[in-house]
Chain length 300, copies 2
């Protein structure tokens, strides 16, 4: 089943304690699409400027990602983010943000994208997410991401959105901010009460927690020493998860848990290098091999 994603497409400059990369390929929809492409065809909706290197589009197209929805604004500049990771590789500081063409982004779905069964509203304003959703006809499963900025400045629109989506994916700090609850289990359940049928709280290097009316479970991250650049970990997690659901064309509880595990594993590869570099080196068989190790790790 094709999977539609709408979100940011960006150029990132990234400083880690040991290295620097200037204006590399990034953005929530990019990490998501690439991660999902191991499992299912992807339809990408986003916006870039004239400075966008054509080779980035070609890279995505080479992965069965339909870029018909990637709008290039003549005379515009691509969304730019510059960040710096602290020595713990979890906390980061934003050094520069230029929204550029992403600031005025009003997604318009190409006609052949409008009937998409699986939809992911990657990080963006809830108003934009809702506008996108209204262009989709009869989706089977809609999942959204959000972030602290929207929780703070577009709270009402976000609450409205939560009543329209099937699932929400967010960080633990965002779940706390949204609910005012410190305990992550309490927070997750409270988000569930805001409308979605399921909620996934991402805990970075500590894995993720799943909440539905009938289930609460934690899956740990895959333990890795090689954390080169955590940028896009959450988006590649969501991409792996949604890609697997679209591939299986199911979101029953068993498939959802497998999908979450695949998301964790795609993310564990993604952090092993800058931008998409590590993901470019692997294929589905590498994920399945790591899945075998992950299952073994969790069985006793």
């Amino acid at each position: 089943m094709p999977l539609l994603v709408v979100g940011s497409v960006a150029l990132d400059s990234i400083q880690t304690p040991t290295a620097y990369r200037d204006r590399v390929l990034g953005g929530s929809a990019v990490f998501f699409s690439y991660a999902a492409s191991y499992f299912a065809p992807v339809r990408l909706v986003g916006v870039v400027g004239e400075d966008w290197p054509a080779e980035h589009t070609q890279l995505l197209q080479g992965r069965n990602i339909d870029t018909a929805g990637l709008h290039v604004v003549a005379g515009g500049k691509t969304f730019f983010w510059k960040g710096k990771y602290l020595p713990n590789m979890n906390d980061r500081e934003t050094l520069e943000v230029e929204l550029n063409v992403f600031g005025d982004f009003k997604p318009v779905l190409p006609d052949h994208f409008k009937r998409s069964d699986y939809v992911f509203l990657a990080n963006g304003s809830p108003v934009t997410q809702m506008n996108t959703l209204e262009q989709v006809r009869g989706p089977k499963l809609v999942v959204a991401d959000t972030m602290d900025l929207w929780i703070r400045v577009q709270h009402e629109a976000l609450i409205e959105l939560l009543n329209r989506v099937d699932g929400l994916v967010l960080n633990d700090s965002e779940a706390r901010l949204l609910t005012g609850e410190e305990n992550v289990v309490t927070a997750g359940r409270k988000v569930l009460g805001m409308g979605p049928k399921f909620v996934v709280v991402k805990k970075g290097e500590h894995g993720a927690v799943f909440f539905s009316a009938h289930e609460t479970y934690t899956l740990p991250a895959y333990p890795t020493e090689r954390v080169i650049d955590p940028t896009g970990a959450g988006d590649s997690f969501a991409g792996g998860m949604m890609g697997y659901l679209a591939h299986k064309n199911s979101f029953d509880p068993r498939v959802l848990k497998e999908a979450m595990a695949y998301g964790i594993l795609v993310a564990s590869f993604n952090v092993e290098d800058f931008s998409l570099e590590r993901m470019k080196q692997i294929d589905r068989s590498d994920l399945d091999l790591r899945m075998e190790q992950y299952r073994k790790m969790l069985s006793f």
Copy 2:
């Protein structure tokens, strides 16, 4: 197999965001012993003062914990700790510490304790831990805990101890402090290189990571909303783990993983109330029921 533990026996005053308890039963050896007692007979070595309520000793004795090694110092006062948990229930501040009789603690093992197959050196100075170890004849498995204070002020003695124990249990922050490594996997492996055959890095609400020459794995915490008092979580984790190993009289890789899971589950009960209150309400069948849920949570 009987399990020997040497460590602190304390009275704790605990302030949480919502409640306060004054001078309740605590201490590393106490939490450990009670947690281990679900699985195996325990031999407790520690020291208290005249202010120690006899009912605490009776409570422990009622759980098949041999208190022959609990020395009462006439005219002395029991180790006292007063702490305050921050709203996140993970970080805490120490408000008062009175080492009292624990400050001069030189453990002397009763004769019938000296041949103990399973030994846990709970939190204490590495010099004291070593002195204790030297009194034990031919143990099968020796595991130690440590803490930031000893890493800082008795570094050499700790390094020496690490070459004498089979296993080490420590917090993630302590593993970072001991090794200078930020990545918990790198840190854990580096601790392993210091001598122990296995290392368990405790991550509080995020579970624990196991390291041996052949294995690295993470087990998540059992997700719970009911976190009333985290005091003793690490000690009850270690108690559950070591109790299970002593019960099975084995520490092969499969048993070690089961033991770690039991440790996680005993700790998940322990945090559900102050002091030993929650542990007093449960028995082995409650642990086994939660184990069923935990196994189900981790299988897909």
